[in-house]
Amino acid sequence: MKVKNAILATVLLLLLYNGCTERIDLDLKNSYPRLVVEGSITTDTMIHFVRLSLSGDFFANERMPDVMGAKVSIFDGTETIILKELTTMTGYYITPSTFYGIPGRTYTLKIENVDINNDGIKESYSAESYLNPVTKTDSVDLEYENNFELWKVLLYANEPTDTANFYMFNLIINDTVYTGQLTEATIADDRFFDGNYANGVWVHSIYDDDESLNLTPGDTITLIMSGISEDFYNYIIALQTETHISVPLFSGPPANLPGNISNGALGFFRAYSNSYGYTIFTGEK
């Protein structure tokens, strides 16, 4: 929705210019530390990891503490694997590099042997995620958009009716992840395709004026299309909403993200399938 984005951008600028913006000291209340779980299972064969950390004060202004010594396991309906705790990167628990997720299975994450509330009694947490299949990417193309000075990443793919209904798109440029944060991923539901062939649908953008990128002809652009669950789709929308600046009228009331970890823990454990498409940047506008 281009107009919506233009309006949001204008309102922000208008407020920043018309209103006066000033830093203020605000005394926020604090909350007790909670376990935070970040973990993904994908169909790619690679090391998959789960990161365990704690929540902290809002103005803590430092990396959140890691949770070490936990027993982390993943059950795929038939077998359980125990994740290995890394000593080099604390808080990270990894699978073997031969691990991959299988569409149609439900993955269950279990975290044990942790005492987040320090009461001397160990707690356990769990989460489940169904791994949806995803359609194959036929091809990827780039098209320059003059008005917004950006490269549109276009997707060509068939949407079989039996695949996932929710999608996440990420970009890799050469060997570097371009959309490393969930706030940079784009998402779509099946209304986007309407059950038809996606014939050059605009799914992502690369900004021309991004100096850190310095796109040159010959660069490889990889589009990852992921079939995600509806819960994860809603989590991404909420995360993107809550981490943007809020504007009265345009922003609804703030609220916590709908995570999927049991026992009051925060974060999200997700399983999804990936489909890759490539194109070479030529620089022709």
């Binding site: 018309n18 006066c20 830093r23 926020l28 935070v36 103005f59 803590a60 600046i245 504007v247 609220a255």
Partner: protein, 493 residues
């Protein structure tokens, strides 16, 4: 403030015409507009009202007022230049009302008031369109909502004894959604399941009901009286306000098959006493109000140009209670008033805050206002007013965590925190022109300062991340008005 121009103007016109002793026509118009403008964008909002009133005296005991009112509130936002990305956005609320009101002095102990009214509401929630090259595919228009609101009423003020008087009345109101319009159907999970279009003038939904009221006034002594009252009202138009801040850019929603009218019952009890031969009036009033069908936005609601806004609403009940203390004084050189209100306002909405009650955004615990006028001489006076209220309840973070590569706020429950308190002083000095008999018009100069001590009242508080230091967050407020000095010239003719 960087190169921002703020200007506002209002224009009032009144015209009275006496046809004969029994027929008077009053015309009045109001036109006001506030504009904020910088090199890049412009925001404005304004109100236009036109009123025609015909006062007719049938006999010394009966007279009537027939009034036609047309009002138009609108706001707009847009870019100044017409580049490829330029756009304009408009929204307005128009009303056309016809009212007839009769007063009948039946006898010394009964004064009867009755009448009826009809209003046509036309709401355009939002229309945004690009003004650049791709204007055609860049248009979003939320369908207009049309509705009619009718009422008939009768009331009587009855003096039962020299000390006791009772005012009682009954109002019947009827609300109709009419075409041209689109009605969206939602399922239990607030997903759109279908839509229906209605032709111009077609009535597709009706609500109606009675609104009784009664008030009892009892005089204890020559300067003391007590009052008790009850009233029920039905509200068919709803202001959908984001609970963080109020702004001129609020969205108005009519009742519809998806939004029931809000019904409120209010009870109040008051005590009034005058001093110094009625030059000082004091009062204490306590009230309790309970409302059905209160609306609020769900978590993560999408408000911007959303044609399915009704699906973002959740419904429940609300209640408020409080006490109001007022001292009014009218002395030779000084007049004004000091008011204090203590208020508690809560709501309970299914699907919000785990269905538990929470504070309403209107819960301003302490509200103080002081208005003072000091007469200097026959031609000039000085005025000051100071307002203070407890900051609105808001939802703020009480913690943080890392997810998806970003810092995510962990929020309190809905509206458990507060915006900073709001306070402001405005002062003015008025100098009237000399009374010259030949001059057909009268003028006065007003020198005023809005927000005289530069109180920075937060409008919005955002929590932002510093680009260079990824783990650092800080709070930032946006305040809209600094000190605004103004010189106004008013004239009457």
């Amino acid at each position: 403030m960087k190169d921002t121009k703020i200007y506002f103007y209002d224009f009032n016109a009144k015209l009275n015409h006496t046809i004969n002793n029994n027929n008077h026509i009053y015309l009045s118009g109001y036109f006001g507009r506030d504009i904020f403008k910088n090199d890049f964008s412009e925001m404005s909002f304004g109100n236009k009202t036109f009123t025609t009133r015909w006062n007719h005296i049938y006999n010394p005991k009966l007279f009537s007022n027939i009034t036609f009112i047309n009002s138009n509130y609108d706001y707009g936002l847009g870019t100044v230049e017409s580049g490829a990305n330029s756009f304009e956005w408009k929204s307005n609320l128009k009303d056309w009302s016809l009212k007839s009101d009769f007063n009948y002095f039946a006898n010394t102990s009964n004064t009867i008031n009755f009448g009826g009214q009809t209003t046509y509401h036309r709401i355009m929630p939002g229309h945004a369109y690009g003004k650049g090259e791709n204007e055609m595919d860049n248009e979003i228009k939320i369908p207009e909502a049309n509705s009619l609101e009718h009422a008939i009423y009768i009331s009587n003020i009855q003096k039962i004894t020299s000390r006791l008087s009772v005012k009682y009345g009954l109002r019947y109101s009827l609300f109709q959604n009419i075409g041209e319009g689109i009605l969206y159907h939602y399922d239990d999970e607030n997903n759109v399941t279908g839509e229906e279009e209605y032709k111009r003038g077609e009535v597709y939904n009706t609500y109606h009901g009675l609104e009784p009221r009664i008030g009892i006034n009892y005089t204890l002594t020559a300067s003391t009286s007590v009052k008790a009252a009850y009233s029920r009202t039905r509200q068919y138009l709803h202001m959908a306000s984001n609970s963080t801040s109020s702004s001129p850019l609020d969205i108005w929603l009519p009742s519809s098959p998806n939004i029931k009218p809000q019904i409120s019952d209010q009870f109040s009890l008051g005590w009034f006493k005058n001093f110094a031969s009625n030059r000082i009036e004091t009062s204490i009033e306590a009230f309790y109000k309970k409302m059905k069908n209160t609306i609020d936005f769900k978590d993560h609601a999408e408000l911007l140009l959303n044609e399915h806004l009704e699906g973002e609403l959740r419904f429940g009940r609300s209640w408020s209670y409080g006490a109001e203390f007022l001292v009014k004084f009218n002395l030779d050189k000084w007049n004004g008033w000091v008011g204090y209100t203590w208020l508690k306002a809560e709501r309970e909405i299914i699907g919000i805050n785990g269905d538990k009650p929470y504070l309403s955004p209107y819960d301003h615990t302490n509200d103080i206002s002081i208005v003072i006028n000091r007469k200097i001489n026959e031609r000039s006076f000085f005025a000051a007013n100071w307002v203070f209220y407890t900051g609105s309840p808001v939802t703020f973070p009480v913690g943080r965590y890392e997810s998806g590569g970003v810092i995510v706020p962990l929020y309190s429950e809905r509206n458990t925190e507060r915006m900073p308190n709001y306070h402001r002083l405005d002062i003015s000095y008025t100098l009237k022109g000399r009374n010259k008999k030949k001059r057909r018009w009268q003028g006065e100069w007003v020198f005023s300062v809005y927000n005289a001590y530069y109180s920075k009242n937060a409008w919005v508080i955002n929590f932002v991340n510093d680009d260079d230091t990824p783990y650092e967050m800080h709070a930032e407020m946006i305040y809209l008005f600094s000190i605004i000095p103004a010189i106004t010239y008013n004239f009457k003719f």
